[in-house]
């Protein structure tokens, strides 16, 4: 049957056609497409920003979800069919996309906001800081009692036997390995910048490699903990918070060695509703809505003025609470922009062995 290759091709074409989303036409005035990461996080944004904003201004907001794929922004901008007006991006994506010229440069005057009021506002030219989240470890209090108290305990298989869930990415894991190996907090990147330091970090990771389950999506770790598949897991603090608050899971976060980072609002270059996008970002960056968001998720607002408006009951759960800030790993985005490519390759090769 000669038709088989054609059949296969048609099948594949069908698959690829469903994978390529049909670009929507530029929307008329009064609508705005906002893209974020889904889950509890987007839910909190919906309640604090999207819904009240839509109600107040009469703008129709179309929401979408993505997984931080910078490729989608790039493809959109390169093909000049931008359909996303506002995107919630992480630090690495914002830096990379800004360098490539696929994001609008932020005009703070147009936003009408005081850049100095924003924690980390000076760090990026193409993004407005939105929240501070943190990568932390947590454990199940019914399985480990007493539980781990420091990042060193994550690597201590004798004291805390059992599997651990870590992100399938060298980011933060290498830093934690060095910390656990006795490197002082301030020297982490100095050590990691040398070949010996990288070897040292991988050697430390070797000691727990057989006991690690590697996760790729932030939804996995709470599930792995709940299923008893692992006893300690790393994740973004809001994910654990959500599992504790909503699902009443007996998880406890260890704040030692927490690695805070930002999420940002950004606008793909050449979007059809630029003015409306500016308006939305400006509105959402005001102290009141930012404080409102902490009711739904335990991420710290980037606007310093939002601090006093936060409900005191929520404060201890935020990464920015003084009690949680005793031993903080300040992630160096420049280091990762420089060395990320090769470290990721090495990490993947290391995993495969």
């Amino acid at each position: 049957m000669k038709a088989l290759p054609w059949l296969c091709a048609a099948l594949l074409a069908g698959v690829s056609a469903t994978a390529i989303s049909v670009p929507k036409q530029a929307s008329a005035d009064g609508t705005l497409t906002v893209i974020s990461w889904g889950g509890a996080y987007q839910e909190s944004q919906r309640k604090a920003f999207m819904e009240p904003y839509a109600k107040e201004t009469g703008t129709k907001i179309n929401e979408g979800e993505y997984n931080g794929e910078i490729a989608k922004i790039r493809a959109m901008v390169e093909s000049k069919s931008v359909t996303w007006d506002v995107v919630d991006v992480d630090t690495q994506t914002a830096l990379a996309a800004c360098a490539e010229g696929t994001l609008e440069t932020i005009d703070w005057k147009k936003l009408g906001l005081d850049r100095s009021k924003f924690i980390g506002g000076e760090l990026q030219d193409c993004a407005v800081p939105n929240i501070l989240y943190s990568t932390v470890i947590a454990y199940d209090t019914t399985k480990l009692n007493p539980g781990p108290t420091s990042i060193t305990d994550l690597f201590d298989l004798k004291k805390f036997p059992g599997k651990r869930a870590l992100q399938k990415n060298p980011f933060v894991n290498l830093e934690w390995a060095l910390l656990a190996d006795g490197v002082a907090m301030g020297d982490v990147y100095k050590v990691l910048n040398t070949p010996e330091g990288v070897d040292r970090a991988f050697k430390k990771l070797d000691t727990i490699k057989s006991e690690v389950v590697w996760w790729e999506s932030g939804a996995q770790p709470p599930q792995l903990l709940a299923d008893g598949q692992v006893v300690i897991a790393s994740d973004w603090n809001g994910r654990f918070f959500d599992a504790v608050k909503k699902d009443k899971k007996p998880f406890k976060i260890v704040w030692d060695g927490q690695a805070p980072d930002w999420d940002w609002w950004a606008m793909p270059k050449g979007g059809p509703n630029l003015d409306a996008a500016y308006k939305f970002i400006s509105w959402s960056s005001q102290p009141a809505p930012m404080a409102e968001q902490t009711k739904y998720i335990s991420y710290g607002p980037a606007n310093k003025d939002a601090g006093p408006k936060i409900d005191p009951a929520v404060l201890p759960d935020l990464p920015t609470a003084p009690d949680n800030m005793k031993n903080v790993l300040a992630v160096d985005p420049q280091f990762w922009a420089d060395n990320g490519d090769q470290l990721r390759e090495r990490f993947n090769a290391w995993l495969s062995k």
Binding site: G68, I70, G101, D227, D338, G340, A349
Partner: protein, 418 residues
């Protein structure tokens, strides 16, 4: 009467040419109609499949970033022999290009491209660009080396020279765990970063294992389905097809629930006191193969089934009546007739397996990840389209080569879907 036959004969003689012409015209019309019927599908495949994929694959060997962004350096390095450090003119061109790129805010792209080959050079280029913009007079060589000593190394210039060409072999070589040294010779990627060859071999191994597993499970089932009374076989067929209609992600998650340490299987085994420790069913090769086999089973089974349906039972009956035993009759008469279906089913499953990545990512361990997972990562999170395209191109080439071998062994014209 004779007049009439004569007329006809004359007609035939004079019309022989005309008839041929008419026949050709009819043939041509039929061919055009056939083409017109195929055209929409052909156009669709061309536009939605061949063109975009060709466009992406181009990224594997075509990267004009340095060529476009550093025009003066490209010209200046055109005559460089690569033995010593380049001359003052090349340094002046470098300073001018970096300064201009810094002003045009394109310098990050230069940094990104070169950083693939020289880890950490990105920030050095950004700093060099800022400082080079302030340089107004030579000698540029000392000035540039003074800004960063990386410009005093031949390796840096060799990489720069190689990347001045828009056509590059870097991504393809990298995807084969190879690189080039300063003299252009091939060198293996350092062992601690070499991963891609292992990944390809693993992808092939898992795909072959799954194909064999689906065949072993699917063949007897197809036989049963083809030989049962229609009413029963239809019911069983629905059971085969039901998971086929469920999303791949849902089925993978279902396997996750079954296979995990405190999952149904491990709990039952412990309840029956068959094991004390949970068996490593999840995050292992075993879990990956089981889940993939389950998902792929209908793809192998259906072509075999439809071929079996067309085999007349009288063949086996004839063999039996001529004295062949049941096994002999099956093996010598029935089985060879099913080979086209087996060939079609196995090929379909094997090729689909090559592209798996969600299932290995969810139920596999770190040593079970397949090449598509890395392609996805390079494309979506690392934004390295050159690497993603090169990995994809090699996977495509490997698939085509295997298809060619398969064609030689089985014969594609023998494949049947029913």
């Amino acid at each position: 009467m004779t007049a009439i036959t004569d007329d006809i004969r004359i007609d035939i003689v004079t019309d022989r040419e005309g008839l041929k012409r008419r026949l050709r015209a009819v043939e041509r019309k039929r061919r055009i109609r056939a083409l017109a019927l195929v055209a929409p599908l052909f156009l669709f495949i061309l536009l939605s499949f061949v063109v975009p994929i060709g466009n992406l694959l181009k990224n594997a060997v075509y990267d004009p970033s340095i060529h476009d962004l550093m025009p003066q350096t490209v010209t200046a390095l055109g005559t460089w022999d690569g033995k010593e450090l380049p001359d003052e003119a090349a340094f002046a061109a470098l300073a001018a290009d970096l300064g201009a790129a810094n002003k045009a805010k394109t310098i990050a792209l230069i940094g990104k491209r070169l950083n693939y080959e020289i880890s950490g050079i990105r920030s050095k280029i950004l700093v060099s660009g800022r400082k080079a913009g302030a340089l107004t007079a030579g000698p540029y060589k000392e000035a540039m080396i003074g800004i960063d000593k990386i410009w005093g190394e031949r390796d840096t210039w060799a990489v720069l020279k190689r990347s001045t060409s828009a056509i590059t072999s870097f991504y393809v070589l990298d995807a084969l765990d190879l690189g080039q040294d300063a003299d252009g010779g091939l060198v293996a990627t350092p062992e601690e970063r070499a991963i891609y060859v292992t990944l390809y071999m693993r992808t092939l191994k898992i795909s072959i294992t799954v194909t064999i597993a689906t065949l072993l499970l699917g063949f007897p089932l197809a036989y049963l389905l083809a030989n049962l009374p229609t009413r029963t076989s239809n019911l069983l067929m629905i059971l085969v097809l039901l998971p086929f209609w469920t999303s791949l992600l849902v089925r993978t998650t279902a396997w996750f629930v079954l296979l995990q340490d405190n999952g149904v299987i491990n709990d039952s085994l412990r309840f029956l006191h068959l094991t004390n420790e949970p068996l490593p069913l999840i995050f292992s090769r075993f879990g990956t193969v089981v889940a993939m086999t389950h998902i792929q089973l209908p793809f192998t089974l259906l072509p075999i089934y439809s071929v079996m349906k067309t085999i007349s039972p009288s063949y086996v009956r004839a063999a039996r009546s001529l004295g062949a035993g049941p096994f002999h009759a099956f093996w010598k008469v029935y089985f060879p007739l099913t080979v086209p279906g087996i060939a079609a089913g196995c090929l379909l499953t094997f090729i689909l397996c090559l592209g798996y990545y969600i299932t290995p990512a969810l139920v596999g361990g770190p040593t079970d990840q397949m090449v598509s997972g890395i392609i996805d990562r390079a494309m979506n999170s690392e934004n390295n389209w050159g690497k993603a395209s090169a990995l994809g191109a090699i996977l495509l080439a490997a698939t085509l080569i295997l298809y060619f071998i398969y064609n030689r062994l089985v014969g594609i014209d023998k494949i049947r879907l029913g």
